[in-house]
């Protein structure tokens, strides 16, 4: 009895303060995720009631001739979507951040806000606006190209199987360029001026300053941006759905995992939804993202060098 009185009092306030966040997160995030994973292990029984089928749905998804085609197509399109983001969005984001963090840039605040603005817009607006800009019937892009003598370059990019996905990826890049820019800009302005001055004294100037001093210091931020891009891209759905519809035309050339999931889960026109196969695709997406994040955490993040400044 005497010992228990000497024990540190239980710090209730920690639990109480954490409870709302944990509760809400569990109810609206964790439970649905696990319920969805559980559902992917069920199928429609002979009497129409749900029946436990183990991993049969996943086998169907990967081996059935009518499921594997759309699945691999969607996965490949997703990979292309991600590669375009990594090759275009992130380098340009770094470049913009580097320009913004230059000492004497007039109108810096204006550019910073203007470049970040599309990120705050709804997908619906972005999809609709770009569809209008690129529309062959009313769009301004044809006129604009024509005014510089490049009218013949215009094509209905969103309607051609070989250009639609790239066009949509670039629209998404346009929308989200603000995120890498901001994160990397924040890392760059955290670099103390003394460090740059010291570098200058040692003869590291100009472009070398960026590659030899700044870049090593912002690698962790670039890592975070990459993993955010990865998760965001493999969960993407809205932009494709808004601009191309649930069938992700033309001829499924813009079909990514998100649209495949939607079409399977909720159905389309005369096709009724299949919640079990839908949950299976959701499960596959979850695993893909989980693997990607693990590869990053164990393969990349541990090797990054962190500097105390």
């Amino acid at each position: 009895m005497a010992t228990s009185a000497q024990r540190k009092p239980i710090r209730w306030h920690i639990g109480v303060l954490l409870a709302p966040a944990i509760l809400i997160y569990t109810v609206i995030m964790l439970l649905p995720v696990f319920d969805s994973l559980r559902m992917s292990l069920y199928g429609k029984g002979p009497d129409g009631a749900p029946m436990f089928v183990g991993l049969a749905n996943y086998t169907t998804l990967l081996t059935d001739s009518y499921w594997q085609g759309p699945f691999w197509n969607a996965l490949w399109n997703n990979v292309v979507f991600f590669i375009i983001h990594m090759l275009v969005q992130n380098p340009i984001g770094i470049l913009l951040a580097a320009l913004l963090s230059l000492g004497k840039l007039p109108g810096r605040e204006f550019y910073r806000t203007a470049l970040f603005l599309p990120t705050m817009l709804s997908f619906v607006i972005v999809g609709f606006v770009w569809k209008l800009i690129l529309s062959p019937a009313w769009g301004v892009s044809k006129t604009l190209l024509g005014s510089v003598g490049l009218g013949s370059w215009f094509a209905p990019w969103l309607g051609q199987p070989d250009t639609a996905l790239i066009t949509l990826a670039l629209i998404s890049v346009w929308q989200f360029i603000g995120l890498p820019m901001m994160l990397i800009y924040a890392a760059m302005i955290a670099i103390p001026d003394e460090l740059m001055e010291a570098a200058s004294c040692d003869g590291v100037t100009g472009i070398n300053q960026f590659f030899k001093i700044k870049l090593p210091l912002i690698w962790p931020s670039i890592g975070v941006v990459s993993i955010l891009t990865f998760v965001g891209n493999f969960n993407a759905f809205d932009l494709i759905y808004v601009s191309q519809g649930a069938l992700a035309g033309p001829n499924f050339s813009t079909d990514i995992l998100g649209t495949l999931l939607y079409r399977t889960f909720f159905g389309n026109q005369l096709q009724s939804g299949d919640p079990f196969m839908g949950a299976t695709i959701a499960g596959a997406m979850f695993l893909i993202i989980l693997c990607g994040v693990c590869v990053y955490l164990y393969g990349v993040q541990r090797r990054l060098a962190y500097y105390q400044m």
Binding site: A137, P156, G245, L270, S272, D274, A282
Partner: protein, 420 residues
């Protein structure tokens, strides 16, 4: 996810049914996807019914078309759906009936005002039980700009050769886009292309029933010929038609930029409001002079009774009223282009709608080929596959033969009569 969906649907249903619950006992709530018609129901249809039945109050509570099937399903499952349910044609409603959520209506007075064909879309496969009162059907065809035709000295084409000759002439002149249609939404290519001209090729009901019985394949005869003709449409559509959406096509036509619009009677009220020029319509041209013409006369909308309604008597009174000519007259004239399915002819005032409905006299009616039975397979669903095939063929990314074979494979994959 399913739970969340059910819950949100329940919340919507509670909100929707709260208001009438506070009122008199015999109150009816109508579930519908026709949010566009809210004003017509509130200002014309409901007052007319309430005048005849002062003891019954009716509320029209529509959901967005895209969400209707899923929301209705959830509401019926949780017992919160309205008393009267607007029925989609064929399998969506049949499923609700087999689950016991829609009441059989064979004994409803007034059901003999409809022919068996009109009731087809809301009857069991054996045709013995009907579970919704048919309201309206839509007709497919071509709408054209009369001013453009007059200017270029064109006449309504009667045969396919005449249609292509007219298209060539419009293209050569260059003032107008010959035909306003895009392939971006895919729905257009299938519905206003394939299902529009197809009946002349597969001989309407004859071909459709043959596929259902398994004696014709989607990869042979008229079925593949339809796709071969569609493949010739591409050059007559506007620049960049591959990225042109359904709404773009409608606007291109109503702005007077295009001469011909392949579509259907459901466009009439919208086009009347938008277009400033005179319009005419011609049925899908036949292949040779003297051929029988077939038109897609598609049952689109009906109403049924929720088995869990608290006011079955009032609901039956309402449904009986829908079978009368009083209702048909109001509905057909408030929504020109949505034609009554009653056997007794209903006078329609709109001239364009009159043209459309007139084709029923000379041509044989059929329905969209994919809607009954054939689209019950999930992967790939025949309707979805038809959208893709029609769009690909017009875009030139798939040959008609390959597309037709793909459709046949999609059907034979699950449909027993086609596996022989």
């Amino acid at each position: 996810m399913k739970r969340a969906l059910t819950m949100s649907a329940a919340v919507v249903a509670v909100c929707a049914s709260w208001a009438p619950m506070a009122q008199a006992a015999s109150t009816l709530v109508i579930e519908s996807w026709r949010a566009d018609d809210l004003a017509i129901w509130q200002d014309k249809i409901i007052p007319a019914f309430e005048k005849a039945h002062p003891d019954i109050k009716v509320t029209f509570a529509p959901t967005a078309p895209k969400e209707y099937n899923a929301a209705l399903n959830a509401k019926l499952e949780s017992g919160t759906a309205g008393d009267i349910v607007t029925c989609r044609p064929f399998d969506a409603s049949l499923e609700q009936f087999t689950k016991g959520r829609l009441a059989p209506l064979n004994d409803l007075p007034g059901m003999n005002n409809f022919s068996a064909a009109a009731k087809l879309a809301w009857s069991t496969d054996d045709g013995k039980t009907t579970f919704c009162v048919p309201m309206a059907s839509v007709l497919h065809g071509f709408i054209y700009n009369k001013e453009a035709f007059d200017k270029l000295g064109l006449k309504e084409p009667k045969t396919e050769d005449e249609l292509f000759a007219a298209l060539d002439k419009i293209k050569k002149d260059g003032t107008y886009v010959p035909m306003a249609m895009g392939t971006a939404d895919q729905w257009e290519a299938a519905t206003t292309g394939y299902q529009n001209i197809g009946p002349n090729y597969w001989k309407g009901e004859e071909g459709r029933n043959a596929v259902i019985q398994g004696s014709q394949k989607l990869s042979e005869g008229g079925w593949v010929e339809t796709l071969r003709t569609l493949a010739k449409w591409g050059p007559y559509l506007g620049d960049g038609y591959k990225a042109q959406s359904y709404a773009d096509s409608q606007n291109i036509f109503t702005l007077g930029r295009a001469a011909i619009y392949p579509g259907g009677s459901w466009e009439i009220s919208g086009f009347n409001a938008q277009a400033t020029f005179k319009m005419g319509a011609f049925p899908p041209p036949v292949r040779k002079v003297g051929d029988t013409c077939y038109i897609s006369d598609h049952p689109d909308i009906a109403v049924g009774m929720n088995t869990k309604t608290k006011n079955p008597e009032a609901a039956k009174k309402f449904l009986t009223w829908v079978t009368t000519s009083d209702f048909a007259k109001i509905y057909a004239n408030a929504l020109p282009g949505f034609f009554s399915l009653q056997t007794a002819p209903v006078a329609v005032d709109d001239p364009l709608a009159q043209t459309f409905v007139g084709w029923r006299n000379g041509c044989k009616s059929t329905i969209r080929s994919t809607y009954q039975i054939l689209s019950r397979g999930a992967k790939p669903n025949l309707e979805d596959a038809t959208w893709g095939a029609s769009a690909n063929v017009i875009n030139g990314t798939e040959t008609p033969e390959k597309a037709a074979e793909r459709l046949q494979a999609a059907l034979a994959n699950w449909y027993k009569p086609q596996q022989k």
